[in-house]
Structure formats: structure tokens, C-alpha cells
């Protein structure tokens, strides 16, 4: 008789003994810690270092952000009199400015409405199991026009000068416009780069390489100081439009490379099959190649959008106040001086949440596309 049956006092027929739990040195929290935290000397040192870091950072951060923080107050001194932590009252008092910028108060429903419409327009683009997706996509294509009309005005709505655009709204306007208009341009550039016609190819390659070789800031400077030289004398066009043109061109250079990756991933047989069917170039692109290539490129397009969305904060260097610019300029208020950390942390948390969600979506999409093959 074996040891186990002796101890439990039961007898089993040969081969029917129930499996014993693995010993604690192989499985369970202790074994896990031994394996994953204290496996070797370097590992142990690393663990201790990490724990020490957490011990130093977490309590101090919690203290500053929540325990000692002040949520209501009239000025910085008011905050400091209550507690030494973060002064969130400042953010609270400026929240509307952070979102709408200087958009006139009575017209702000237009911003809200276009935000709601934007979300509705995004649903059919992002999820492919929406009912009536085809019709909904037409609405998504028309949406930029509706939003432009709502935000700028005219045709029955009060006109809002574009220099009153600001805050988060400006970030979203620039980011969305850049990505929407860069998509068709990017497709053309990507096709041009893979074209058989040498001149078309050279032009596409030099445009893409130029755009990718210079920083966005310099292009924004070009928009601010140089672009108005290239229009006929006497005409004057809006700084926001000039900025949008440059941002669109910038994004289309990156978009072209993302789509080129998608085009290259399509097996050669697809191109050859399209040729064999007697389809012309544009027919084969429109019906066979691009639908497949664009589908593969969506994660890359989302990543490009994340990058562009983060880069919209750069408009600050040509004097436009986006969400970060509003934060920066409100620091000049003598009532609230010296609260830069609060402002930056608030804006950082905001960007982190939105960009993190977008990158999760892109990962989800990548996984979904991957399983298809």
C-alpha cells in the first residue's frame, strides 16, 4: 500500500487513486513568486528595486492627487490654505475653456451636436457588424461637410470666426480633418509610388520623402508665414484653413506609407487575377486590391491618427490655443499662478485615456484581422 492511501485511511483499486494537488514548490503563490520575482540574484535585486520605487512613488502620488487635493476654491492661495496637495479647483473653474476654447457661449450647442454626430459617423467606420452599414457609411462621408457648416456657420447659422476655435475642440477638428482628407490623398500617393509610370512614381516618392523628412512644426510655420505668399495678391485665406492644408499634407505622407504596406501585403495573385479578368487599372484597384489593402491598413491608419492627434498640440507654436495651449495660457492668470503641474497632469491624463483607448481598438482590430487568415 502506498503512502497516500495510508494517510487518508482509504483504499483505492490500482489506477483509481485521485490526483494529488501538486506540491507547493511547483504551483501556487509561493512557487509563482519564487519563479517570477526571486528566480536569481539579478531578479531579486530588480524586484526589490521595483518595490522600493513603488513604495516611494505611489503613496506620494496618492497624497498629492487625492488625499491632500483641493476640489473647490477661488484662487491658488485659497487652495493652499486648505491643503498642500493638488489644486483641482483651478481645472474645475476652467473646464469649459479647456473644452470649447473661446467659442461663443450661446453657440456651444453646435460643438456638442457635431461631437454627437461625429460619434454616430464613427460607428459604421469602426465596427463592421452594424446594420445598414452601406447607407451609414454614406452619412459618414457627408459628415465632414455637416460638421464644417455647424462649426463655422453661415447658411442660417451665425458665423463664428475660426480664431475663436480652441481647446479640445480645436484638437479634434484638426485631427479629424487631417485624417479624413489625408486618406484619399494617401491612397493616390501610395498607388503613385507603386505605379509603372516613372514620372508619377518619382513625384510621389519625392513628395512622401519630403513630408516625412521635415518636422510638423516647420510645416505649421510655413502655413503661418509662407503660404499666403502663394495665393494671388489681395486674397487672404484663413489661418485655420492654411493649418488644415499643411496638417492634411503632413498626414497624407504618413498615410501613403501605411497604405503602401497594405498594398504590398496583397498577394501578387490578386493583381494577376484582376488582370486576367480583363479589368482595367482603376477597376482592378477599386474592386479587388484597395478593399483588401485598406482593410489590412486600418490598424496602421488608427495609429497614424493617434500620432496626428497628439501632434495637434503643436499648433501652440503658431499661437493657436488648443487644450494644452489653453492650459498654458491660463497659468498666466495671477489668481492661479504656479499651478503648472496640475494643468499638465490634467491634460496628460486626458490624452492618455483617449489615446490608450484608440490604441486598444487598433490592437483589437489587428487580432481580429490576424485570425481571419
Amino acid at each position: 500500500m502506498s503512502q497516500a492511501t495510508m494517510s487518508s485511511g482509504q483504499t483505492y483499486k490500482p489506477g483509481e487513486h485521485p490526483s494529488l494537488p501538486p506540491p507547493s514548490s511547483v504551483k501556487g503563490p509561493i512557487a509563482w513568486a519564487k519563479e517570477n520575482l526571486f528566480g536569481s540574484i539579478t531578479n531579486t535585486l530588480l524586484t526589490l528595486l521595483a518595490l522600493y520605487f513603488l513604495y516611494k512613488i505611489i503613496p506620494a502620488l496618492a497624497q498629492w492627487m487625492y488625499v491632500d487635493a483641493v476640489f473647490t476654491g477661488e484662487s491658488r492661495n485659497d487652495c493652499r490654505a486648505q491643503a498642500p496637495g493638488a489644486c483641482w479647483a483651478f481645472i474645475g473653474s476652467r473646464l469649459k475653456l479647456f473644452i470649447y476654447g473661446f467659442y461663443p457661449e450661446p453657440e456651444r450647442w453646435r460643438v456638442n451636436l457635431s461631437a454627437v454626430l461625429l460619434i454616430l459617423a464613427l460607428i459604421p467606420v469602426l465596427f463592421d457588424n452594424v446594420p445598414h452599414r452601406g447607407k451609414a457609411l454614406i452619412y459618414s462621408c457627408v459628415y465632414p461637410l455637416i460638421a464644417a457648416w455647424l462649426l463655422v456657420g453661415g447658411f442660417g447659422l451665425t458665423r463664428v470666426p475660426t480664431d475663436q476655435f480652441g481647446g479640445l475642440m480645436l484638437n479634434v477638428v484638426i485631427g479629424v480633418t487631417g485624417i479624413v482628407f489625408s486618406l484619399p490623398i494617401g491612397i493616390c500617393l501610395a498607388l503613385g509610388r507603386r505605379s509603372n509610370l516613372p514620372i508619377i512614381r518619382i513625384l510621389s516618392v519625392s513628395f512622401i520623402e519630403f513630408i516625412r523628412g521635415v518636422p510638423l512644426i516647420t510645416l505649421l510655420f510655413v502655413a503661418a508665414v509662407m503660404l499666403s505668399y502663394f495665393v494671388p495678391p489681395g486674397t487672404n485665406f484663413d489661418l485655420l484653413v492654411r493649418m488644415l492644408i499643411m496638417v492634411t499634407l503632413f498626414a497624407s505622407g504618413y498615410m501613403a506609407e501605411v497604405i503602401r504596406g497594405g498594398l504590398q501585403a496583397i498577394p501578387r495573385g490578386q493583381y494577376e487575377a484582376a488582370d486576367a479578368m480583363g479589368l482595367k487599372y482603376w477597376q482592378s484597384m477599386r474592386l479587388i486590391v484597395l478593399p483588401q489593402a485598406l482593410k489590412i491598413s486600418i490598424p496602421g491608419i488608427v495609429n497614424t491618427f493617434i500620432g496626428l492627434y497628439k501632434d495637434t498640440t503643436l499648433v501652440i507654436v503658431i499661437g493657436r490655443l488648443d487644450i494644452l495651449g489653453i492650459g498654458n495660457s491660463s497659468l498666466a492668470d495671477s489668481k492661479w499662478q504656479g499651478l503648472s503641474t496640475e494643468v499638465y497632469v490634467f491634460v496628460a491624463v486626458f490624452f492618455f485615456i483617449s489615446c490608450f483607448l484608440m490604441s486598444r481598438y487598433s490592437l483589437y482590430l489587428e487580432k481580429k484581422l490576424h485570425s481571419g487568415h
Binding site: 531578479n43 516625412r212 510655420f221 508665414v225 495678391p233 499638465y344
Partner: protein
């Protein structure tokens, strides 16, 4: 009568037919499309250049780069070469280029080291360290770089103590709201010998590597190349240095009554930009490194150990060469991004190319066209240099397929 009508009719019908046949001919069509594209492009260029000329005339401006020889009359807070406010705009541009190059160079080095470190930690089986790095990477990647720069600049400027109570690290390095002060090397006359010795040592090491590789390929005999080259690299310059009478002294910063004196000062703007660029890019590089190492098939490890190759050799001879092939192309684009992102310097007043020639010089001279063309051109040069170097390196380590 009827014949002429028929002829005329035939003529009008055959003309579009000829065009159509021309259009249906593949070669002819491609020529037509390209000529048409060029024509559209050139007329567009002619149009905007004409507009620019008219606009410049209307404003009474000329298009010339002569302003580069005029005095700049503004100060720059960090100059690597001699510069005063009486120097020319051209000189200011040079200072700006050097400042961009400095922050890009330091940033690339720091970002590479940190990025590889973080990437390896994320792959290690230490759960807590891997998770900690994961959180760091996600937070850093998903926040705009400009915000990082502002935040670090704000911390250096507002929360560091004044120069009087600077944080003292071993009486050598001082941290204050004026930046970081480190000892400044002062080179004596004989330093050239040491520099030459370093160059000779590097050349000797390369020759040693080549020779050792040849011997190994021919006979299979392995020499301890690494320890030999370390000995050459440290030993030779050191011997020459002492033989030439130690021509190097350090100017250690001293904490005076009110201020720090002496030493080499890294200004807060440089520190903020450098740290922000390095951390931001390191987050991206760590992901690239992680993906590169994960892309190597597990079978490679197993095959190497089946052949009896030591674990440390497996990493060096089998895994890393293959991982580098995956890592290098995206790494190159990260280096490019870092260099381009250094243009955010203008937001905190670090005087790089954009801030000098594209900022203050532009304001003072009103030469928007010329200055912007210079700035764009310089960035293109930077980008092309880095990408051609990385392409060369990539080609060198690329898989030779038969």
C-alpha cells in the same frame, strides 16, 4: 459633292478614332498621362511662383540670402561655438544647427540605451518589473511629447532649488533651477597625443577583430577578442595620456555664496528637451526591441542548445543578429522622429534651428521665404543623413538570400 461630304464625315469620325487608338495603346497612354501630369505640375508651380513674385513686389521685398551676412543682434542661451549678439544671422543659424545636432545626438544615445533596457526588462520573467515598465511605456507613448517637455521643464524651473541651495551630488554635480552643472574638462597642450592614441586604438581593435574572424573561419580557433580589445582601448590612450604629462584638468563647479561658479552648465531647456525626447522615444524603442526579440523563433534557441552552444553565445551569435534585422528599420525611423521632434525646442526656448533662423531671424529680417526654405532644407539633410546611414547598416546586416 457626296464624295466630299463622305470624306469630311470620314475625317471627323477618324480623328477621335485615332485619339482613341492612341489612348488604347499602353505605351502611348503612359506617355500622355505623364506629360499631362508634368504640364499640370509645372503650370501649378509657375502659378504659385508668379503669385509669390507679385506678392513680394507688392510688399517691396526681394528674394535673397544676403541677410545671412548681416548682424543678428540677439542672444542665444546655449552656444557651442563662439557667438555674440554682433555675430551674423549665418552664424546664428550655425549655432542653431549645432544645438539641434547636440540634443538629437544625446537623445538618440540615451533613448537607445533606455529603450533596449526597458525592452529586455519587459521580456524578463520578473513580473513586477515587467508590469512597471509596461505602465511606463503606455503612459509615455500615449501623452503628447510637447506635454512631456512642458512638464519636465516646469519641474526643473519651478520645483528645483535655486542655485544657492543647489542639490549637491558628491561635490561634483549640482542640480538647481539653473540646470545641471558638471565639471568642465580643460584640455592642455598635449591632449592631441591622447586623441591620436584613441584613434589608433580603435583602428587596432578593428584590425584585431578582422584578423581573429579570419583565423576563426580558417582554423576554428577562438581568441579572447573582447578582453584584448578592451585592454587596447583603455590601456593605450591611458599610457599616452600619462606619458604626455596628464594634459587634462577638471574645472569643478564651486558653490559660492550666491551662485555656482565654474563648470559646464546644461541649461534647463536642454535638460527638459533631452530628457523628454529620450524617455518618449525610449518608450517606442522598447516596444520595437520587444517585438524584435519575440519575432525570433523559439526553435533557434533550441537548435543552438542542441548544437551545444553556450547560452551567452546563443544570444550573441544567434538571437541578436536575427533580432537586429527586425529591429533596425523601425529603429531608424525612431531616430528620425527624435531628430524631427527636437524642433519642439522652440516651445520652451531652447535655441535650435527653428528657434534661431526660423524664429528670431525671421522676425527680425522679415525674410519668411528664405528662412523657411533654409530650415526645411536643413531638416531634409539631417533626415537623409540618418536614413542613408541606417540603410547602409541595414544592408550590411541583412540576410543574404540565395
Amino acid at each position: 459633292m457626296t464624295t466630299t461630304v463622305a470624306k469630311a464625315g470620314a475625317g471627323t469620325v477618324s480623328e477621335p478614332n485615332a485619339l482613341l487608338t492612341l489612348w488604347r495603346n499602353r505605351k502611348a497612354r503612359s506617355v500622355i498621362i505623364q506629360v499631362f501630369t508634368m504640364a499640370v505640375l509645372f503650370s501649378f508651380l509657375a502659378y504659385i511662383i508668379n503669385n509669390a513674385v507679385l506678392n513680394l513686389q507688392a510688399l517691396g521685398k526681394t528674394f535673397s540670402f544676403d541677410f545671412l551676412n548681416e548682424p543678428a543682434s540677439y542672444d542665444i542661451n546655449q552656444t557651442l561655438i563662439d557667438y555674440t549678439s554682433r555675430s551674423t544671422h549665418g552664424r546664428a543659424m550655425l549655432v542653431g544647427i549645432l544645438n539641434t545636432a547636440l540634443v538629437a545626438f544625446c537623445g538618440i544615445i540615451a533613448a537607445t540605451i533606455l529603450g533596449f533596457l526597458f525592452g529586455v526588462i519587459r521580456l524578463s520573467n520578473n513580473w513586477i518589473a515587467a508590469k512597471l515598465v509596461y505602465v511606463f511605456v503606455e503612459v509615455t507613448r500615449n501623452v503628447p511629447l510637447l506635454l512631456h517637455i512642458f512638464l519636465i521643464h516646469g519641474i526643473v524651473i519651478h520645483t528645483m532649488p535655486g542655485a544657492k541651495n543647489a542639490i549637491n551630488i558628491g561635490d561634483v554635480i549640482f542640480l538647481s533651477n539653473r540646470g545641471m552643472t558638471i565639471p568642465k574638462p580643460i584640455f592642455g597642450d598635449g591632449i592631441t597625443f591622447t586623441v591620436v592614441a584613441i584613434a589608433v586604438a580603435i583602428a587596432a581593435i578593428i584590425a584585431l577583430w578582422r584578423w581573429a574572424k579570419k583565423v576563426q573561419e580558417a582554423t576554428g580557433k577562438i581568441y579572447p577578442v573582447l578582453s584584448f580589445s578592451l585592454a587596447i582601448f583603455i590601456g593605450l590612450p591611458l599610457i599616452v595620456f600619462f606619458a604626455s604629462g596628464s594634459p587634462l584638468t577638471w574645472e569643478v563647479p564651486k558653490l559660492g555664496r550666491f551662485n555656482l561658479r565654474g563648470g559646464l552648465v546644461a541649461i534647463p531647456e536642454f535638460l527638459a528637451l533631452w530628457l523628454a525626447l529620450s524617455l518618449y522615444t525610449a518608450a517606442f524603442i522598447s516596444e520595437i526591441v520587444r517585438a524584435g526579440i519575440m519575432a525570433i523563433n523559439k526553435g533557434q534557441w533550441e537548435a543552438a542548445s542542441a548544437l551545444g552552444v553556450k547560452r551567452s553565445w546563443t544570444l550573441r551569435l544567434v538571437i541578436i543578429p536575427q533580432a537586429l534585422r527586425v529591429i533596425i528599420p523601425p529603429l531608424a525611423s525612431q531616430y528620425l522622429n527624435l531628430t524631427k521632434n527636437s524642433s519642439l525646442a522652440i516651445a520652451i526656448g531652447y535655441m535650435d534651428i527653428v528657434a534661431t533662423i526660423g524664429g528670431i531671424s525671421l522676425m527680425q529680417t522679415g525674410k519668411e521665404m528664405e528662412t523657411m526654405i533654409i530650415v526645411l532644407f536643413i531638416y531634409l539633410c539631417f533626415s537623409l543623413t540618418i536614413s542613408s546611414f541606417m540603410n547602409w547598416y541595414n544592408k550590411r546586416i541583412a540576410l543574404v538570400e540565395r
